[in-house]
């Protein structure tokens, strides 16, 4: 019985560590730092309890360590780990993928070597006789079971919150997430810090459980083992990560009859599992939420706009220059966009049209020039803050969250709506509004379909629906009808006009399909080699000889 409860404790401990790794992984951040914070938590428990029992609360023989002090240690460890992780996170979280993994692995090793050498961590020997909370080892379940329950419940709640959805969006496509107004640095740092707090608390509890703490706790090996467990358990859901990890961690204990062979079997199982269970033991699709009974809402025009078109200048671009190395992709471009206006941006391939969008939204830095939004300079703002002002965009190359359903894609855009607009923290409260835009874009029959499986045209419509969810004032549309049939093109044209007329939205439109541009735009700007060569009404532009030359080349002089 004693053996069984120990296995169960190991399972819970590994499951907690797996959760602490899973929290940053929700945002696609492969951080292996958990063991470092686990070790730090353990040392805090060891040092604090020694200080307490040696100083002003001496324990008699066989006397147990008061639970209140344990809670104090938990608080100290949480505060310290949060602060430390927040500071480190700010530094390392701009690293991607394997680079972040290596940087955090380095952190684990640095912490280990420090603890091995510093005198107040006990050096190589570590710290002994940490006071016990319970007389029996099995009673530590009273700490670990509630701890795990609370941790799992919070992570499940997090998954359904707006922060969780924001993290999920970052995991699937960081730039799509930025275009949805998600503050990537903030979300990643928060996830990193909360993962660290959980690892720290697990360390505090484990130090009391083990009675001794040294630099062998929290090594890089345990870091990559935990990662393997999470991947095999299922890295796309908290249940998969924690349960799978716990079970796999218990495997060597269950395999004890095999004695020395057990780790070999464990290694082979890890290989087999990655080969045959690509998405893990516990699959995310089992938890996929289906949406029923959603109601479309009445569309409300943008606040303060009586008629859709006004003379108010929303967006103004002055001498915008973008340079890549020696190449001037955009050269001293200036234009204005009025409220309720549809401006076409046309030009041959490679003219720099998409680069203009990238510069306006903050995806590429500008070399010179100014961008102002309702009179305020915005060129120094990060991507997500421009989105919050009301500047949304779609992507020519389609950046949807391909593993998520149509409605989830639109909902994801609600994850960054600012707090003062809506008090709700839970994402599903936005489902009706999201459905409104989905329906508006003609996708109401496909709300549960994975966006990666949609047709090309549907994906473009979904990009627009997602942009609408940001409650924008200006939408930059990058080739919204590319790949659509004539009937669909017509529909999109009407939709854009309708959105302008009913909501007072303004658009900048990049498009190669000339009838659409001519039929829809109030004004057209023509770019060639990054330079503005013509600007005016559709009629003016179509008669401009420079435009003809740019598109068709110079007429040969007839001899």
């Amino acid at each position: 019985m004693e053996g069984n409860s120990f296995i169960f404790l190991v399972v819970l401990q590994q499951a907690l560590l797996a959760l602490s790794l899973y929290i940053p992984l929700m945002g696609g951040q492969l951080s292996l730092a958990s063991p470092a914070f686990f070790a730090i938590g353990g040392y805090i428990a060891a040092i604090a309890s020694a200080y307490i029992t040696e100083g002003w609360w001496p324990l008699a023989e066989d006397q147990l360590y008061p639970f209140g002090f344990f809670l104090v240690e938990v608080v100290i460890s949480s505060v310290l780990c949060y602060g430390l992780a927040y500071a480190i996170g700010r530094m390392v979280l701009r690293l991607r993928g394997i680079y972040l993994a290596l940087a955090t692995l380095a952190l684990v090793e640095i912490v280990r070597v420090l603890c091995l050498n510093l005198s107040w961590t006990g050096g190589a020997i570590g710290i002994f006789s940490i006071p016990q909370l319970f007389a029996e080892q099995g009673d530590y379940l009273w700490v670990f079971v509630p701890l795990f329950a609370v941790a799992l419940a919070s992570v499940l709640l997090l998954e359904r919150s707006r922060l969780g959805q924001a993290l999920r969006a970052i995991r699937e496509d960081e730039y799509a997430a930025a275009a949805m107004g998600i503050d990537r640095a903030r979300c990643k740092t928060l996830a990193f810090a909360w993962g660290a707090v959980l690892a720290g608390i697990t360390g505090v509890a484990s130090a009391h459980l083990l009675n001794t703490w040294n630099a062998r706790q929290g090594t890089y090996e345990s870091a990559i083992n935990t990662l393997a467990y999470v991947m095999i358990g299922g890295s796309w859901s908290a249940v998969g990560a924690s349960l799978g990890a716990g079970l796999l961690a218990a495997l060597p204990e269950w395999l004890r009859p095999l004695q020395d062979l057990r780790l070999i079997v464990n290694g082979s199982l890890i290989v087999l599992a990655t080969l045959f269970l690509p998405r893990g033991l516990i699959q995310e699709s089992w938890f996929r939420r289906r949406f029923r009974g959603l109601k479309s809402r009445e569309l409300t025009p943008l606040s303060g706009t009586k008629s859709p078109r006004t003379d108010e200048i929303l967006l103004e671009v002055e001498a915008l220059t973008v340079q890549f190395g020696g190449l001037r992709a955009v050269d001293k471009l200036s234009f204005q966009l009025k409220r309720g206006e549809i401006l076409g941006l046309i030009g041959p391939n490679g003219a720099g049209k998409t680069t203009v969008f990238n510069a306006l939204t903050g995806f590429v830095p500008l070399h010179e020039g100014h961008i102002s939004w309702a009179g305020k300079a915005i060129e120094h703002l990060p991507i997500h803050e421009r989105v919050h002002l009301g500047l949304a965009r779609t992507f020519q190359n389609l950046r949807l969250l391909r593993q998520q359903s149509v409605l989830e894609n639109v909902l994801a855009a609600a994850s960054a709506l600012r707090k003062h607009e809506d008090a709700s923290e839970m994402l599903y409260d936005f489902a009706d509004e999201a459905f409104t835009y989905v329906k508006l874009c003609g996708l109401e029959d496909k709300i549960d379909q994975l966006s990666g499986t949609l047709s090309y045209g549907d994906q473009r419509r979904l990009e627009l629906a997602r942009a609408l969810m940001l409650r924008p004032q200006v939408i930059l549309l990058d080739e919204p009808v590319a790949g659509m049939n004539p009937f669909e093109k017509k529909g999109m044209q009407e939709l854009i006009r309708d959105l302008r007329d009913r909501l007072g939205l303004s658009f900048v439109l990049i498009e190669h399909h000339v009838p659409l541009v001519m039929g829809l735009c109030d004004r057209i700007a023509v770019l060639n080699f990054g330079v503005l060569i013509a600007q005016g009404t559709p009629a003016e532009v179509s008669q401009n000889p420079d435009v003809e030359t740019a598109y068709l080349g110079k007429k040969e002089a007839t001899p």
Partner: protein, 306 residues
């Protein structure tokens, strides 16, 4: 000062040799082969057994055969064996994932599983005790040379000589041979390379074989120069190798060389009073480099298309 330089170059050149294996695989697949350190350990043990004639010692009872090879031949046989082993590793833990375009994380986990398997196999067979090369196996180099107050162990010269020659050969191989050009083509764009008639699966196999042989060679040299402190030292050395390729730039052979030498020199420069912190030097360096130059010293930054 000269002593530090020599010691640093000696260990650094082995780091470089080892890390090239990582760099090659990374340049092809964009993933890290976590079993590389285990192959390194296999190579070290195999050379030790072949040259001393001693096998087993763990669960398997220790057994000494009269058959043993000279050091050079033992190192060569073990390099060949590890080349085959690494090819097997590619077939088992990499090729199936490549076929289904798995995410990079999964390669990491499958190769890690393979590494755990290998290390524990070694543990089962050899036990956890430290193994040393007998002096008479290495008797072809003088034990200690003193020159103008500079102390050089003969083994150090051996290590330095072998690894520097190998490094030069490797660089030449990649510049000029067809296989080297093929590898660079596959690294650049596997689809295009395949369309050009370059046998991509064979290049993959060859690359793994080559990195396995290098790992074995590095393992042999480290074991000869120091000792084998148990099967797990492969994994720890593997981690240092990661620091090396990050320092140099992930997919670059020349980066691995620069990074390896740099790490060796930095470690050798740690004063004896702080030798406990030596193990952390590489990681502190790695951390710093990643913060200042995420693409590594010689790496090229990646561009995202919107």
């Amino acid at each position: 000062m000269l002593q530090i330089l020599l010691n640093g170059l000696c260990i650094g050149s082995v780091y470089a040799l080892f890390a090239i294996g990582y760099a090659l695989v990374f340049s092809l697949l964009g993933v890290i082969n976590f079993a590389h350190g285990a192959v390194f350990a296999v190579g070290a043990y195999l050379t030790w057994s072949l040259s001393s004639g001693t096998w087993g010692g763990g669960l398997w009872p220790a057994y000494t055969s009269s058959f043993h090879l000279p050091f050079w031949q033992a190192a060569l046989v073990s390099a060949l064996f590890c080349a085959l082993l690494a090819m097997g590793l590619e077939k088992v833990a990499f090729a199936p994932l490549r076929k289904r375009h798995a995410e990079a994380l999964q390669y990491l986990v499958s190769s890690l599983g393979f590494g755990i398997f290998l290390v524990n196999l070694l543990l089962l067979f050899y036990g956890a005790e430290t193994k040393n090369f007998d002096l008479d196996i290495l008797s072809f180099v003088p034990p200690l040379i003193e020159w103008n107050g500079l102390f050089v162990r003969g083994v150090q010269l051996l290590i330095l000589g072998v690894s520097l020659i190998s490094l030069l050969l490797i660089l030449a191989l990649f510049r000029f041979s067809m296989a080297g050009k093929g590898l660079r083509a596959v690294a650049e764009n596997p689809q295009a390379a395949s369309l050009l008639g370059i046998p991509v699966p064979r290049i993959m196999s060859l690359t793994f074989a080559f990195s396995g042989a290098l790992a074995s060679l590095a393992g042999t040299l480290i074991a000869a120069g120091f000792s084998i402190p148990g099967p797990h030292f492969g994994m720890l050395f593997g981690l240092k190798g990661l620091a090396v390729i990050v320092l140099g730039g992930m997919g670059e052979v020349s980066g691995a060389i620069v990074g390896g030498l740099l790490l060796g020199l930095m470690e050798a420069a740690v004063p004896a009073d702080y030798s406990g912190y030596k193990e952390a030097v590489g990681f502190a360096l790695l951390f710093g480099v990643l913060l200042l130059r995420p693409e590594g010293l010689l790496g090229r930054p990646q561009k995202e298309k919107f």
